[in-house]
């Protein structure tokens, strides 16, 4: 995803900084300064790190679990965990790649637990299945275009959920979160070539699943 896309428009909200634009050299330097300050005892400055990455963290978790509240809890846990282990962050990688890895692990743990709970007792909750993870509303769209866009958003959400875990991770991090292939490889702990293969397979799967709806949306676009 292009680095110039710096904002998202959550429902009923004002502009929020786009997290994928944070991984620039200047911002990396800011991250390092903040981490040094926190480790030196200025705990309050961790709030600045949280503010910088909370949108990215929440979005990434939401892309995985498809539930707004769960995504918030997961990303908050990830921030607390990152704080606990901040002294282990050696600065060899960017802070956000290290932090994204923590979020992904939290997401995986959550999904495992949820799957177990479902097997034992609960059927999937309907609202989770229907949740669209993309902002589909657009004031400039007519009603037909908006409906087609919403439909495509729903199908894309479902298609992403059906992807195997690694393909989903790679696709979300690269095409949705805007990380470079090398950064995705760092987050996932895989080789860049492996990440490319995951993204390629994910794209083909999405194409197969979405093409009929895509044609429909294109008709109204």
């Amino acid at each position: 995803m292009d680095a110039d896309r710096q904002t998202v428009r959550p429902p009923g909200s004002s502009i929020v900084l786009r997290p994928s634009s944070i991984g620039t050299p200047v911002n990396m330097q800011v991250d390092e300064e903040l981490i040094r300050a926190v480790l030196a005892g200025e705990t309050g400055r961790y709030a600045e790190l949280v503010s910088r990455y909370q949108a990215a963290a929440w979005q990434l978790a939401y892309g995985f679990v498809g539930n707004w509240e769960d995504a918030r809890d997961i990303s908050q846990n990830a921030f607390v965990k990152a704080y606990r282990h901040l002294d282990r962050f050696r600065g060899r990688a960017r802070f956000f790649t290290w932090f994204y890895r923590i979020i992904l692990n939290e997401c995986k743990d959550f999904c495992k637990g949820r799957d177990r709970r479902r097997v034992v007792q609960d059927p999937p909750e309907r609202h989770e299945q229907d949740a669209v993870i993309f902002e589909v509303a657009d004031p400039g769209q007519g009603p037909r275009e908006a409906a087609a866009s919403a439909e495509l958003g729903t199908r894309l959400t479902e298609a992403i959920r059906e992807l195997p875990q690694r393909e989903r991770e790679a696709f979300l991090l690269h095409h949705v979160q805007g990380l470079k292939l090398e950064e995705v490889a760092q987050v996932m702990g895989r080789r860049t070539g492996t990440v490319k293969a995951h993204i390629f397979k994910a794209t083909r799967a999405l194409q197969r699943l979405l093409e009929p709806y895509w044609q429909e949306e294109r008709r109204y676009a």
């Binding site: 995803m1 292009d2 896309r5 904002t7 998202v8 428009r9 959550p10 429902p11 009923g12 909200s13 004002s14 502009i15 929020v16 786009r18 705990t43 309050g44 961790y46 709030a47 949280v50 503010s51 909370q54 949108a55 929440w58 979005q59 939401y62 892309g63 707004w68 918030r72 990303s75 908050q76 921030f79 607390v80 704080y83 606990r84 669209v132 993870i133 993309f134 902002e135 589909v136 657009d138 866009s149 495509l152 958003g153 894309l156 095409h175 949705v176 979160q177 794209t203 083909r204 999405l206 194409q207 979405l210 093409e211 895509w214 294109r218």
Partner: protein, 173 residues
Amino acid sequence: MHEELFLARLKRWLKKHPLLGPSQEQGAAFTEDVMRRIRAEQAPSPQTVPIFAPRLAWGMGLAAACLLAVIILKPGPTDPLKLTQAIEEEWNILEAVEQEVDLDGGFLEDELEQWDSLVLAEAVEDVSDEEEVERLLDLLSEMGEEPALEEGGSELEDLLEEFRLLDEAEFTG
């Protein structure tokens, strides 16, 4: 549709329709929640907050030190005080049986142990003359010896004299 064309359209669509994100208000509350949790982790838990007043804490420390001192200084089996008491007791026993203690520089405890067994072996049984006579008569009877009793003197004295003569004759013969 060609893969590259599909990907280009997908990316364009994603650019127009990004992932849902939190509002500024939600973001601020989020940061606040995280920081509250972090501060809670840093603050000592209620169980570890010092609940004792300083004086009580000092008192408990002193008690612990006393206990430690008692444990360290508790008399062992070979401590000098106990050994002295043991010697004194043994000395009293020996005096009671009219034995002289000749300590020739050996280890005191060993000496005392030896004296113990010696005293027990040499202790004089306190029996009356009548009992001793009865025992000797029983013994003579078992051996088939009948003492020849002479006239005069007390019966008891005569018997004892007879036995003494018998013993001497037996040992020298």
